[in-house]
Symmetry: C2
Amino acid sequence: MEQSDAATRPRNGDRKAPPTIYDIARLTGVSPSTVSRALNKPGRLNAQTERRIRDAASELGYRINPMARALPTGKTGTLGLLVSDITNPVYFDLVRGAERVAFETGMTIVLADSQESPELERATAERLQTSVDGLLLVGSRLEDQQIQELYSVKPLVVVNRLVEGIPAVIPDVRPGITTALEQLREAGHRRIAYLAGPEASWLNGQRWQTAFATAVEWDMSIVEIKSNAPTREGGAEAFGRVKAADVTAVLAYNDLVALGLLRECRDHGVDVPGRLSIVGFDDIFGADLPTPALSTIRMPLTSLGEKGIRRLLTEIEGGRSEDESALPTEFVGRESIAKAA
Amino acid sequence: MEQSDAATRPRNGDRKAPPTIYDIARLTGVSPSTVSRALNKPGRLNAQTERRIRDAASELGYRINPMARALPTGKTGTLGLLVSDITNPVYFDLVRGAERVAFETGMTIVLADSQESPELERATAERLQTSVDGLLLVGSRLEDQQIQELYSVKPLVVVNRLVEGIPAVIPDVRPGITTALEQLREAGHRRIAYLAGPEASWLNGQRWQTAFATAVEWDMSIVEIKSNAPTREGGAEAFGRVKAADVTAVLAYNDLVALGLLRECRDHGVDVPGRLSIVGFDDIFGADLPTPALSTIRMPLTSLGEKGIRRLLTEIEGGRSEDESALPTEFVGRESIAKAA
DNA sequence: GCTACCTCGGCAATCGGTTGGCAAACACGC
DNA sequence: GCGTGTTTGCCAACCGATTGCCGAGGTAGC
């Protein structure tokens, strides 16, 4: 596996230091401050001088040193994105959306995850705060007060959560849930279960409360079933409790849990959707793969990511953006729903 | 959606500047340089003085300013991780592994993707290089020379690729492919196809060449079928060509392509594995979800991520780490393989 | 020809750390 | 009492930008 003569590789000492504005200044015979202005105060200088400096800069392959700029300005050009679990496919599109907006505005995103641990989340958030201009907290498991403390240090926006006094971007779970329960009701389901997510999750609360209120309104019975983790394993592990609950349909906290339950049903010979209908949340990658394909309530993930970053940017600029309306969810009907047995 | 009285939110000006070593110096009556040494040259100072300073620091809630440190030292404490497509589940575990090692060593990871575009990859890499200590290039689509140029600027490690003179971490595709073809052969398959990935992908070349050599050695016929993109859509779109090729088994460039093909087969009534056996690569999230569950060749993703970062760290320290042996792949038998028709 | 104003570019301070060199203070041996 | 050596902490320069202020020179108005 030796790919090359080690002696031919650059050592750190070999690499030439990148050019600075001082190099450009020397080359063009002006002062460094003039170079700085030429490069980021267009119009401030004589057009011809500016041209000359810009040319010299690109000839030298000059790239601004973000650290050096950050020191006097206090702006790092970096945003922190903290999610509860990187390996949860639900964050794909959200991250993508966030990245797109960040890239367009010339910001860099630092992605980190807290592995569903509040302690780790706090530690990571604090560490990130020293090197970013603002933080996007997605599905935070922290307590309100901790988030407020973080907010008192640096700009911050929460996604999928509401905290007193903190700018937020959230989905409106109502449309998706309403349609889903409507479908279940029309298919004759009267006893349904909600397979719960983490208690510290605000979104879990929203989903449960909305499902609960809707079910009650429509005279369906509904029970909440605990699950240990918002993962496929968590869903599989809840199978026994679901079965014992004697319901004809399950609304799961998220697709991961729904997929875990679905698989377990198949492995135990419980016919889905014949004997049990299952609906998930999020419409993650893979939700359409199993047979039956999973019906789910799609979250506006890309938009949540995009709006989150935009919101954060105006927050950083000191603007006080209006809290916009929540982004609507949408029911995606697939094969995991059928007439109640 | 108004969550709070806007007037109660901190404005940027409201936030108090974080404490600096100057604050600590003033508080303890020593000079800033002494504070600096107390905090990161243990033993250089009188033990008692050091204690006093450390106590004051933690009392003030001091956190070092990474930018300020980066300036004189040239070390940013940040590593860049550049993947070809963030939304490809294959990178989950790799990113996880990389993050774990980075976190343990106190480094921060900046994750970016190039959306399968070489131009974007180069631009992003160059941008990242100004603010990180080193770069991990995963599945790069750049040309060798471009990578070498990047390497001449900052430390860099490539994953899933070999480039002359560049430290690399790669999988050994042989074990997985050998076992997979062995199984196919024993099941009576004699005509197989390789559904190709991006031409610019080194890994695609490895997979094809190894499959080719092995098939030839064992007297199986093998053909290469192009696919337009290494995605589910790409796999679906290749269905016609696969069907026309008159083979009994397909080895796909990755699971995404395999899943796309699998779905398309189902939609067109082609029985898998009855009439066509399918094997993927990577064992991504979701590979086990469809019916039939996808057989695949698992990549040591977590290890690739971990080793990649470790390798990068020694590279940054100026060490010249030995090129270690490639990490073995492993065949994962599921339901998408059966006896040849 | 004089004042008033504007344009253009440089000086120097600043951001928050790090670090080489030095000097003060102290201990020790003789 | 003096030379030598060691410990300890400070001074000041530096990293690479940004920016307030100022002065030189040009232009215009009267």
